[in-house]
């Protein structure tokens, strides 16, 4: 770990470390990790202000960042980290009581450093130094904390007999005047640093030969990262996610190619026992490789949950509500790509729960509930899917009001009979979310259409359970991975298409009298007592089918949003796991087509997007 003297000795002008984009990148990555864990520990500390382990951990995080920033001449970052460290040092020596105000300040510092990391990233990407917020004010605020604390500590020391002063006590106050002197330069320094850095980076990448000491750079980088990083390196390495995605793709292809070989008619005809055994062995290995490759991209959902902890804290304070956040099933693993896309909807749902679902403490008391409300995030597996639940114990959804509002907005016809879940689903309607009134009265309207769109993009579904006065639960059902889907291979004429299994309710061959038409154009099929619209795939895609009559064909009862419809195809060929591929840049947005997949015989099959298919047939 870097010491104070080393930091001071680095001269800003000719420090080769500060001009190395790779080093900066490492710094950003590592700092981000530290900042994330810092936030987590701060929230723990917020619950239990005496948690010494949390204080130590936060201290270590800031200390590491400070050390690295020192090497890279990022003075503003170093300064802020240093001041926070001073405060934390007082806290861990029990000279400062960790209050909410202290935690707020440290959280602010953490946010400030995060903004710095973003600015550095922008700079690396564009070569332009963006304007940085001025750390001066923040520094002053943190110093105030330290000064107050040390003043009271000194008072305590005076009361004690001489000689019992802890060794490190003089350190903290001594830092204050020194840094206070540097304060006036600070705002300028921050932006100047970045601008300079941008210039240096630009020039050093143009003329790499001029770099005076490349070997020294590498060496110093090693020592700069310190012992902790070394320990980590032994157990995990950082891999470019693009490479990982490519690997998963290729392994998918390998599994398909393997099955092609295994089921090759020529090979099957002359299969000898030894070849059979070897092929089985190959199958086992490819399966295992696929499993491992997929698992490499899986990350625990806990990281995502923990991000909401900060949101819950900030929002509940702002709204004057008391909210406890409970997390369960954080170890549940999910594809990295899904976790990333899940962040937004999760934030929306948590925000809605706190803003609208949960009552004020007074209201809760009147309703004979505990003053502190509870928001629960729960993750788990269920039949090959991941299920994530976001629940609150607030006032619940008011079905009557939602219905009234939906009728006013003409989202539904006046006499349409709706089940409770259909009514709740109305809040996902895009028109519904902009209605100010409903958000004031019953809550749950802001951005809910965004939530559903996101979830559907992830090929998942979202359901609402709610009881008046007892709370609301959003149930998200998501696939384990986005790379592979279970598909039904169906045929229409000579073409074959893949229907994602998750959207299929059932398949049937209808009786002749189950089909009816409206105005001789729109067709309907009676399925289990409900009339469902009939969509002929061959009409949508302009191909020649083998069967023109619905009762000769196969109907796939599919779900699009909260609506059901029947998709008419010639026949079902089989069920297959397929790797989803893009059709390429020029063919990106075709209504009704989600992508392509290589089928067992090497041909490309189109994967149907039922949402788009149904929407397109009804949109025009």
């Amino acid at each position: 770990m870097s010491s104070e003297s080393e930091l001071k000795s680095t001269a800003a002008a000719d420090n080769p470390l500060a001009h190395d984009p790779e080093l900066l990148n490492d710094f950003i990555l590592e700092s981000r990790e530290h900042l994330t864990s810092i936030e987590l520990q701060l929230l723990t500390l917020d619950q239990d202000p005496t948690n010494a382990e949390a204080i130590h951990s936060i201290f270590r995080g800031f200390h590491t960042i400070k050390g690295m920033a020192g090497f890279l001449d990022l003075d503003a970052v170093r300064e802020v980290a240093h001041e926070v460290e001073t405060v934390l040092d007082l806290a861990r020596n029990a000279r400062l009581v960790v209050t909410s105000a202290v935690i707020d300040r440290i959280l602010e510092s953490k946010d400030y450093l995060n903004r710095w990391m973003s600015a550095l990233e922008t700079m690396l990407a564009t070569g332009q130094a963006p304007g940085m917020p001025d750390p001066g004010e923040l520094l002053a605020l943190i110093r105030d904390l330290a000064t107050e604390a040390s003043a009271s500590a000194r008072a305590m020391d005076l009361a004690r007999p001489e000689g019992s002063t802890p060794d490190d006590a003089p350190n903290a106050p001594a830092n204050i005047p020194e840094n206070a002197a540097a304060l006036p330069d600070q705002p300028e320094a921050a932006t100047r640093d970045l601008a300079e850095l941008a210039r240096e980076l630009a020039s050093s990448s143009e003329e790499p030969a001029r770099d005076p000491a490349p070997p020294a750079v590498a060496e110093n980088a090693e020592s700069g990262k310190g012992g902790e990083a070394h320990g980590m390196a032994a157990r995990s390495i950082k891999v470019d996610t693009g490479k990982l995605d490519y690997l998963v793709d290729m392994v998918g292809e390998m599994v398909i190619a393997q099955s092609l070989v295994r089921h090759d008619p020529d090979l099957v005809a002359g299969l000898k026992p030894r070849l059979g055994r070897n092929l089985s062995q190959l199958t086992r290995i490819t399966d295992e490789v696929q499993r491992i490759a997929m698992s490499m991209r899986m990350i625990p959902v806990g990281q995502l949950f923990q991000k909401t902890a900060r949101l819950v804290r900030d929002l509940s304070r702002k709204a004057g509500k008391h909210v406890d956040l409970e997390l369960t099933g954080e170890d549940t693993e999910l594809d990295r790509n899904i976790v990333e896309d899940l962040a937004d909807p999760l934030m929306h749902m948590v925000r809605n729960a706190i803003d609208h679902g949960i009552e004020t403490p007074e209201e809760r008391e009147r309703a004979a509930k505990s003053r502190t409300a509870r928001v629960t995030l729960k993750a788990g597996h269920q039949a090959g899917h991941i299920v994530i639940q976001v629940s609150d114990d607030g006032r619940g959804l008011d079905a009557e009001k939602i219905l009234r509002k939906a009728r006013e907005k003409n989202l539904i016809s006046d006499d349409a009979p709706l089940t409770e879940s259909e009514i709740f689903n109305l809040i996902f309607q895009p028109g519904f979310s902009t209605a100010d009134k409903i958000t004031d009265i019953s809550g749950r309207g802001v951005g809910m259409d965004v939530v559903r769109k996101h979830i559907q993009k992830l090929r998942g579904r979202v359901d609402i359970l709610s009881k008046p006065g007892q709370g609301t639960t959003f149930v998200l059902k998501l696939p384990l991975t986005l790379a592979i889907i279970d598909g039904l291979v169906v045929a229409v004429g000579n073409s074959r298409y893949i229907v994602p299994v998750f959207a299929v309710r059932e398949m049937l061959k209808p009786a002749e009298d189950a089909i009816s038409t409206i105005h001789g154009r729109e067709e309907m099929a009676m399925v289990r007592g409900t009339l469902l619209p009939l969509v002929r795939l061959h009409q949508r895609f302009h191909v020649t089918p083998r069967f023109e009559k619905p009762w000769e064909s196969l109907l796939i009862v599919s779900e699009s949003g909260s609506k059901q419809f029947c998709l008419m195809v010639d026949e079902l060929i089989g069920k297959q796991e397929v790797v989803i591929k893009s059709l390429g840049e020029g063919l990106r947005n075709i209504a009704g087509v989600a992508g392509g997949a290589i089928l067992g015989d090497g041909r490309v099959g189109l994967i149907l997007d039922l949402e788009g298919l149904f929407g397109a047939s009804h949109g025009a």
Partner: protein, 171 residues
């Protein structure tokens, strides 16, 4: 390799022609002989089964599997407004890499038959004659005359720019 027939140097276009000189792959389309820069060509394959994609212009025949990658295939006959022809064993798909706004992408191009690879000198290349107003020739790089036959040099990037592939709304 072809032996080069020296042409009268076109002084006014010498600079432009210099950039156009290089190796070309020639292919047939109807009665005409076309040429595209070899640098653009990734591979040449026989015609194979193509999966049709709905809501695309008729010259987009669909998509094929190129070693695990799905790429679109364009029929150059239809693209150039020629009559559609039954595919024969000589029909080829030339896979080219083009640059679009969205980055590099691979596209298959169906042609009647692939002929040969030629090295064209600057002196072999002439500018496209002016057909008068109303005849747009943005994707013609120029003409090359070899052994008395004219070869039309195509800027395949222009022919297959991503806008040209874009989907026509059909319902």
């Amino acid at each position: 390799m072809e032996t080069m027939v020296a042409m009268a140097p076109a002084v006014s276009t010498a600079l432009k022609a210099d950039q156009r000189a290089g190796k070309y792959l020639t292919f047939q389309l109807g009665n005409e002989e076309f040429a595209i820069q070899v640098l653009r060509v990734r591979e040449i394959m026989g015609i194979q089964e193509i999966t049709a994609v709905p809501q695309t212009p008729d010259y987009v025949k669909g998509v094929i599997n190129l070693r695990g990658k799905v790429i679109p295939v364009v029929d150059l006959r239809l693209k150039f407004g020629l009559q559609e022809l039954e595919y024969t064993p000589r029909t080829c798909i030339i896979v080219v890499q083009i640059e679009s706004d969205a980055g590099k992408l691979m596209i298959g191009v169906i042609v009647d038959a692939v002929s040969e690879v030629l090295t064209l000198q600057a002196a072999d290349i002439e500018d496209t004659p002016d057909f008068g107003s109303g005849v747009a020739t943005p994707y013609l790089l120029g003409m090359a005359k070899l052994k008395g036959k004219v070869k039309i040099l195509l800027d395949i990037n222009m022919v297959l720019s991503s806008q040209e592939l874009q989907v026509l709304p059909s319902f």
